[in-house]
């Protein structure tokens, strides 16, 4: 999808392209051939798709103008046809923009934009217009009124199917009761067989657009969906493409179009999240791919300090001294005077020996700087030829290819016990990279063969410059030889480890990257650049191009449309898939009036648009089915598939480019990154559901226990009284204690003319409880403590007291009232299952 999408962005439009290549085919034929892709494959479906496209358009129009959408949809029977009317309160359209919006297939302001929007491909409403025209022969009737204008405009619009050009056939002014907005009326061949999908679509739209007011009038029914919030979705901004999400073809086109001269400039200008530093990293990665890296060998000085560690081979080592390098430079330098030559040689040899490892281009830099220093001190000019000679001499010494004899030594390394420094260097690296179980001899033989590879390569490129793939080729070849001759396995992991170890010590070359114009048209180099962009760590794209619904509004939307007991929602952080940022949100409604029989409903949304067809093909459905819902307290026959029970699961994928499985935009494609996020979002919401269900179950258990004990204990008390011949005992305290309940008890004692009241709260539960106790008294209470208040209202006094009582503790409120007072206790802050009130 991504490639199709981004490539499409640069093309004149798929319809024209196809129409051009098949000149005899008209747009009508094109439509006829592709209507299944566009969602108009049947009359039933065509109506739903038309509603969907018109409503999406209407919502977008209102939102873009910062208006809370108020949308009216009507379906009328009109003889053999159905008439669809969609009205919005958007800003209205001008005569100029109108044909473009409604008439021309594949016109769309958002076709190229990296920004979240409902319609993404510009096929939408114009396809509906075309469909109605093709099936009924009637024009689209459009009424529009812009804000502030006195009158509305009425148009009739027909698409010329030969050249895909819209024509306004009728234009007049009219009156309309909306102060601003657009009304479109389409007549089409249709039927109402897909009524359920239509209702789903409207209802689901209401859920994810809690800021919109929707109305649907059908021949026999009328539905209204009021808004739940006045908060418009945040405005989105367009962003440039992210380097991780572009394809080779796109980059090649971007290279053609850019004004930048350098690759660095191109990267910074054309992509999001790329600054100087990131561009440098990408270019380094590009160099590694395009030019390869240079092997860095240890200079002799380092060798002498490290080599003796392997005692068994040091004795056979060629005696080498620092003098070798100086001598080599001296030999290679002619006619520069003894002092200057000596200084030059010493400077180079010194600088080389100071390094731990050295690559060819690093040597070049050393020679250059030595030459300049000596030039300054001795006044002798060290020209390019001299410098080159010096570099060659030192480098060949370093890689043991200085002379014919040593050349023999190097090439015969495998057959003699003699070892070059290359072998030593490589041995060290290979030894580090392979597991300790590999025999030392094998590792040494491997290093020798690998050194041979490098030596052979020197014939082509003395600089030992290889790409990672070439290096892997060396290692593969050597590993095969090792397996063949030494009869040991040298597996893929071991090979990769060796490559990794060597690649790490190799140096990125300083070669300038090609200029944009050089890159332009060079497919291989551009491919290297794309690879480099992918391989570089780059910050995720900004998310201001996305407008998630937000967890709160998801719950508000669900609450508005579903009468459930419980709602949960989750909004994930933005992630990136194929360079497009996306956010996944999930919501769950449970219980209440939801259908308890059968499986839960799954509502799918992409960029706030409900997806009502192809449920089975959608990544969302797949993820919901794969989740183990039993873990979250829902019934799931067989442990997989849709959960059963009174639940609604909604998933919203917001992205600058939602990957759909087809052009009709009915199902989200199975993209792993998106699936992961969908799963995490659902699980997040499901965790809340689980704790709600657990709590509900424990309360149910408590209620059940209370019911059983509430029956047994009084019977027991009665029997005990019977056996002992006493009055029946008072069991409320015992029951409160058994239930770990909070017991609120009022005792009243006559006290002369007045009564002393004490309200005792006994907390038998395992947690601290904060209660709000209101004692409604019919006479004025006196002698209230400081932490209680009494408010009079209509001749009743509300004594308010809010004690915090820790577990197994009790608190008492005492006050006095006149003799004839009556009381009524009201306790809040504790679940009713946990509360026993005695008064």
């Amino acid at each position: 999808m991504t490639s199709f999408q981004s490539t499409l962005g640069e093309e004149p439009g798929i319809a024209e392209e196809l129409a051009e290549s098949q000149q005899a085919i008209s747009i009508a034929e094109f439509f006829e051939k592709n209507k299944h892709m566009l969602g108009f494959d049947s009359g039933a479906r065509g109506l739903v798709t038309a509603v969907k496209e018109a409503v999406d358009n209407a919502l977008d129009a209102a939102e873009e103008a910062g208006i809370l959408p108020d949308i009216y949809v009507e379906i009328q029977e009109a003889g053999d046809y159905y008439r669809l009317i969609v009205e919005d309160n958007g800003p209205g359209l001008t005569k100029e923009s109108l044909p473009k919006v409604f008439g021309k297939l594949l016109y769309g302001s958002r076709f190229h934009a990296r920004e979240q929007s409902r319609g993404q491909q510009g096929i939408g409403i114009s396809a509906a217009v075309l469909y109605s025209q093709l099936t009924s022969g009637k024009p689209a009737k459009i009424t529009s009124r812009t804000e502030g204008s006195d009158e509305a405009q009425y148009f009739e619009l027909i698409v010329d199917t030969d050249d895909n050009e819209p024509e306004i056939s009728v234009e007049e002014t009219t009156t309309w009761d909306r102060p601003h907005g657009t009304r479109i009326e389409l007549e089409m061949e249709a039927n109402m067989r897909a009524r359920q999908q239509l209702h789903d679509y409207i209802k689901h739209t209401a859920v994810v657009n809690p800021h919109a007011r929707l109305e649907l009038r059908e021949p026999q029914a009328h539905f209204k969906f009021e808004r739940a919030t006045d908060q418009l979705p945040e405005e989105t901004e367009e962003i440039r493409p992210h380097p991780h999400g572009v394809e080779l073809g796109t980059v090649m086109k971007m290279l053609t179009a850019t004004d930048s001269q350098t690759v660095s400039g191109f990267l910074q200008e054309e992509f999001t999240r790329v600054g100087k530093k990131t561009a440098d990293s990408i270019i380094d990665a590009f160099r590694d791919r395009h030019y390869g890296r240079e092997m860095r060998w240890r200079p002799p000085a380092v060798h002498e300090s490290t080599e003796p560690r392997s005692a068994d081979t040091s004795s056979e080592q060629h005696p080498r001294e620092d003098g070798d390098l100086e001598a080599a430079v001296t030999d290679a330098t002619a006619n520069k005077g003894a002092d200057a030559t000596a200084a030059f040689a010493e400077a180079i040899a010194g600088a080389v020996d100071d390094r731990d490892r050295i690559a060819h281009h690093e040597l070049l830099a050393i020679v250059d700087s030595a030459a300049e220093t000596v030039e300054e001190e001795h006044g002798t000019t060290f020209g390019d030829t001299v410098r080159e000679n010096a570099v060659d001499a030192v480098w060949l010494t370093l890689i043991d290819e200085l002379s014919e004899e040593s050349d023999e030594v190097a090439t015969d390394a495998e057959t003699t016990t003699d070892e070059s420094r290359l072998v030593g260097d490589l041995y060290e690296l290979v030894d580090e990279a392979t597991s300790t179980r590999k025999d030392d001899e094998i590792v040494r033989a491997f290093a020798q063969r690998l050194a041979g590879k490098f030596a052979d390569a020197a014939d082509d490129d003395v600089r030992h410059r290889v790409t990672r793939d070439e290096l892997r080729g060396y290692v593969d070849r050597v590993a095969e030889l090792t397996e063949e001759y030494d009869d040991v396995a040298f597996g893929d992991t071991a090979r990769e480890n060796v490559v990794e170890e060597i690649w790490d010590v190799m140096a990125t070359v300083p070669d300038d990257p090609p200029l944009v114009r050089e890159l332009n048209g060079d497919r291989d180099a551009t491919s290297d650049l794309v690879d480099a962009m992918r391989a570089t760590d780059i910050m995720a794209p900004p998310t201001r191009c996305l407008a998630p619904i937000s967890a709160d509004l998801i719950e508000a939307g669900l609450e508005k449309e579903f009468d459930a007991d419980f709602y949960a929602s989750a909004t994930r952080d933005a992630e990136v898939s194929g360079g497009d940022p996306f956010i996944v949100e999930a919501g769950i409604a449970y219980g209440g009036e939801l259908e308890a029989e059968g499986s839960a409903d799954v509502m799918r949304f992409a960029n706030r648009v409900p997806l009502v067809y192809q449920r089975g093909a959608c990544a969302t459905t797949d993820v919901v089915k794969d989740i183990g819902w039993r873990n979250y307290g829902l019934d799931q026959p067989g442990g997989s598939g849709l959960p059963n029970g009174p639940a609604v699961v909604m998933v919203h994928v917001a992205s600058t480019n939602v990957p759909f499985t087809s052009e009709s935009k009915d199902a989200v494609a199975n993209v792993p990154e998106i699936e992961d996020e969908i799963e995490l979002a659902i699980r997040e919401a499901a965790r809340d559901l689980k704790s709600y269900l657990n709590k509900r179950r424990s309360m149910q258990k408590r209620r059940k226990k209370q019911n059983v004990l509430g029956k047994i204990l009084p019977e027991m008390a009665e029997k005990v009284a019977e056996v002992t011949g006493r009055e029946e005992p008072d069991i409320d305290d015992a029951i409160a204690r058994i239930m770990n309940n909070v017991l609120v008890e009022r005792q009243v004692e006559a006290n002369g003319d007045s009564q002393s009241v004490s309200v005792v709260v006994e907390n038998n539960s395992g947690t601290n409880e904060s209660l709000e106790i209101t004692d409604i008294v019919s006479a004025e209470p006196t002698a209230l403590p400081d932490d209680a208040t009494a408010v009079e209202m209509d001749g009743e006094w509300f004594v308010k007291w809010e004690p915090d009582i820790s577990s197994d503790d009790e608190a008492t409120l005492e006050y006095e009232v006149p003799d004839d007072a009556t009381f009524d206790l009201d306790v809040k802050g504790v679940e009713t299952e946990k509360l026993t009130v005695k008064q």
Binding site: L709, K711, M716, A717, K719, V720, V723, T724, D730, A734
Partner: protein, 363 residues
Amino acid sequence: MSADNEQDAREQLIDLAAQFYDQFELGEIPHMSVPTRTKNNIEYDEESNVWVYGDRESTRSANSVRGARKLLKAVYTIDFLADQLDEDRSSTLRELYYLSESWDNEEAQFTSQDESNSLIEDLEIVSGVTREDFHMRPEESGATIMGPLYLREQTRRGEREIHCQEDVGEGGYQIPNNPDTIDFLDCDADFILAVETGGMRDRLVENGFDEEYNALVVHLKGQPARATRRITKRLHDELDLPVTVFTDGDPWSYRIYGSVAYGSIKSAHLSEYLATPEAQFIGIQPADIVEYELPTDPLSDSDKNALESELSDPRFQTDYWEEQIELQLEIEKKSEQQSLASRGLDFVTDTYLPERLDEMGVI
């Protein structure tokens, strides 16, 4: 049994109900604690040489639905038992189980006889009154006595004076459920011979062993019922008769001896009332298997495990038992009492028993 005893039992039961009453009144959760009746909570009482319950207690509390049901049943049972004592009636454990069906409260009805049996045990322990005093009896175990003993039994149909050799048939005198209703009038016996199996008991009677050796032959019928153990203890305590136990030669039979001598897990609260620590074991000893070359069966794995666990059982921690058990583990064989018949039908009465009893110093 005296009326005092009945009155006492009734009061104990009502006290228990009153305890629940008080717990309700104090706002406490009604509860009842009883010692845990499992093997792990049985301790050997060094002083009385019998098995008693340890310190571990289980609480039946109305805190849970289960506990509340148990207590409700307990109260209904108390009510029933109090009425039964009032009316001087008695019933069997099984009757109690069926009788609960007639209670007006379904929650109080028992779901199994195990439940009602265990509740009666609970009440016994908590009230300190034996179930015989509640007038609760088990099904007749059918255990019998044969021998020169003259006694008076208080039956529901008046007093009966019975001589356990002369007034009874070959089956012997059947031990009543509550042997405390018996008065011993006269006794010519020299010792008690408690026998595990019916076949051996019949052999002894047929051979006239009780007459010849003045023995009281008590038939245990496997694991002895409470009444059998109680009357054995009374005969020992009141008539000063030595008690000997004659069983098969396998680990399970040693446990029959153990329960006669030291008490059992289910009734450890009554050990002092039921157990006769002075009881002696005749055999079949593993040594007898070797000495008399008796026909044998090999030990099964469970037999071996049982023997192993007896080695660590304080009841069998004597030199004698250790020696015998180790010998049996070594020969890996067991023999039944009746395997003595391989030496002839009279061998047991003419040779084996006289030799063993002589060795033990009984005759």
